[in-house]
């Protein structure tokens, strides 16, 4: 007699080597290819909330004075305030709302550059969501990464967020006119930056007055 026994559940292991950030990196590479094909130089502008990312972009647009040859992707959680501020400078703007996410990712940029008119665009400025931590884990495919910090954030921003500053191609210290009032020593911040990233130009800027903006443009390899 053959007895058919019901087998208990079989327990098994599946071994994997699934890199969870690889998908973003692959998409970032695709973005870079598309930008290169279209001969567009893209700059990822990161920085904490209120550091002056939008003011820096406005100042760059004013000085470069290239009208619609500059495209801007403005990342924000839910509002279009930044996109409206940037549009005043004559650039071609697309707003990306991340909803509850604290950073742009390569997929959002992929959608943005596919949904945007890119004919005639030479430079694409990407304003990341205000945050010094999360964007560091999500490259977008930009050619250069700028990190903006400001004296009003206190003296420890660079020491506290070394990773993002190490990855930066250009470091901008904004609101330099307020250093004295804030009792922040910009040279100490510069020293902190040099310690972990000696290669990135460290530029002291007042985005509202335009001080330091030509140096930022030069550091990005553009001609104003």
């Amino acid at each position: 007699m053959k007895i058919i026994k019901s087998k208990g559940p079989e327990i098994f292991d599946i071994e994997l080597e699934k890199d969870l950030l690889a998908k973003n990196r692959a998409l970032a590479k695709e973005n870079r290819k598309k930008l290169d094909r279209s001969k567009i130089i893209a700059i990822d502008i990161m920085g904490s909330i209120g550091s002056g990312k939008t003011s820096l972009i406005k100042a760059l647009l004013k000085k470069l004075n290239m009208g619609e040859a500059i495209g801007v992707i403005a990342g924000d959680l839910t509002t279009t305030i930044d996109a409206e501020r940037i549009e005043e400078e004559g650039a071609r703007v697309i707003q990306v709302n991340t909803g509850k996410e604290c950073h742009l990712d390569a997929n959002l940029i992929h959608q943005a550059i596919n949904g945007m008119r890119l004919d005639g665009v030479k430079i694409l400025l990407i304003e990341n969501v205000g945050n010094l931590i999360c964007p560091g884990e999500f490259p977008l495919g930009a050619h250069k990464r700028v990190v903006v910090t400001s004296v009003t954030e206190g003296p420890y921003m660079i020491v506290k967020h070394p990773y993002i500053f190490k990855e930066a191609d250009v470091i901008v210290l904004n609101k330099i006119d307020l250093a004295k009032a804030m009792k922040v020593n910009p040279y100490q911040l510069e020293k902190d930056a040099r310690k972990i990233n000696p290669h990135a130009p460290f530029i002291k800027v007042n985005a509202l007055s335009g001080k330091g903006i030509p140096q930022v443009i030069h550091a990005l390899g553009f001609i104003s």
Binding site: D13, I14, L16, E17, K18, C134, E137, P162, Y163, N197
Partner: protein
């Protein structure tokens, strides 16, 4: 809050792989997360468990292995670990400077991982 996007990616992958292997229930998963990654492991575990609810992975254990940092100095050739046993964020600053010669030219070889390594399931 990039932990939420990472957790969503984990859950998507786990359910996808489990389905392909005809699993009926997932008992546990194991992740490798580097100590130099900017990922809060408690938050990742919390979100993964929240997203597992109502799926075959509901109640599965989330095991996280911390991968220790290892660097190689481009100037003096020092190879090894470079930070003390602590999650203190200010000490992360030290992770980018060679502990032997003080050069900032260190290449991070280990400690930035964010990997799904194992799924234990039932079929």
């Amino acid at each position: 809050m990039h932990e939420f996007s990472i957790a969503s990616e984990i859950v998507r992958n786990v359910l996808d792989v489990a389905e392909k292997n005809s699993a009926r229930k997932i008992l546990s998963i194991r992740l490798d997360i580097g100590e130099l990654s900017l990922i809060n492991v408690e938050q990742v575990a919390h979100w993964v468990q929240a997203l597992f609810k109502g799926t075959m992975a509901e109640g599965a254990e989330v095991k996280i292995k911390t991968i220790k940092a290892a660097v190689q100095c481009q100037s003096c050739g020092y190879k090894g670990r470079n930070i003390p046993d602590s999650r203190d964020i200010v000490q992360h600053f030290a992770a980018f400077i060679c502990p032997k010669c003080g050069s900032p030219g260190v290449k991070i070889e280990k400690g930035r991982e964010c990997m799904l390594r194992k799924i234990q399931a039932e079929r």
